[in-house]
Amino acid sequence: MEEQEILLQLNNVFRKCFKRQDITVSPETSAADVTGWDSLTHMILINDIERHFSIKFKLMEIMKFNNVGDMLACIKKKVNT
């Protein structure tokens, strides 16, 4: 799957998780940029992403997610292997 396609799908996961249609994330987006991205939504978001892409992150992978780009790279690696 190409990065653009993953980002497109990731945006849909974010919109569903945050229950807001106006959210658009880019690789540079971090928690500080999205209103409501707190520890609660973060926990749900990680699970929603795993479920949507049928993947399971390792703890150490999650711990390195500093922004959407980090998520994107990890998802890309998992869905393409």
Partner: protein, 219 residues
């Protein structure tokens, strides 16, 4: 009576687990983890054990972050401490990562409403401030001032290691009056509180209000 304060090691894991779980209960019958995620006592123990085994720093459930007080060679009290956001990630997000990893999606989905209530009493920790958590003394050693000694020792050690740290913070439930008095004795004062107006919070926590206590370290 000989009191020895030392850093916790892997051999202290059982005692540290007890400290985390008992401190988390804050006088209630079950932990908030148990109440929020509908986990049995054994499941909470497994969760805490798994988290400790991962060895993730910058949050309370990391064995090397604990100091243990021994009384005549017996583990009597423990306190965890860390500098908030040392690597840029808050301890709340670190814990959320661990819970997302260890709890399955169904458990998390079932907990959304309760987590929403918890968010209402959530008090943010200040980045760069020393955080003290899981402050626990075994019942037969209470009243000896061990928690205060451990807190002061943590502050001394962190000040030596982190010259710029100028504040220590403790977050606790407002109904925990004995702990509150203990922290006041070692120089902490209440600086903020947050209340959840929805009484459903009392199904998750033994009290509807959390308080933030602080002690300035550069005075």
């Amino acid at each position: 009576m000989n009191i020895n304060i030392r850093q916790a090691t892997e051999q202290d894991k059982d005692f540290i687990m007890t400290a985390i779980i008992e401190a988390e209960k804050s006088g209630a019958d079950i932990t908030s983890y148990g109440a929020i995620f509908s986990l049995s006592g054994d499941a909470v123990k497994t969760l805490v054990s798994n988290i400790l085994d991962e060895g993730i720093e910058e949050q309370e459930m990391y064995i090397p972050n604990f100091l243990v007080a021994e009384v005549d060679g017996e583990n009597a009290a423990a306190v965890s401490a860390w500098i908030e956001g040392e690597s840029g990630m808050t301890s709340n997000i670190i814990k959320a990562n661990m819970l997302a990893y260890f709890l399955n999606a169904d458990i998390l989905e079932g907990a959304v409403a309760k987590l929403g209530l918890m968010n209402e009493v959530n008090i943010s920790r200040e980045m760069g401030a020393l955080q003290l958590e899981c402050i626990y003394t075994a019942e037969k050693f209470r009243g000896m001032g061990l928690s205060g000694q451990l807190i002061n020792e943590h502050i001394k050690r962190k000040k030596a290691e982190w010259l710029s740290v100028d504040k220590a913070q403790i977050i606790l439930l407002k109904n925990n009056s004995s702990a509150l008095m203990c922290y006041e004795k070692v120089g902490f004062a209440i600086v903020a509180e947050k209340k959840c107006e929805d009484e459903a919070i009392l199904k998750v926590l033994p009290c509807d209000t959390k308080i933030l206590m602080e002690r300035k370290l550069n005075e």
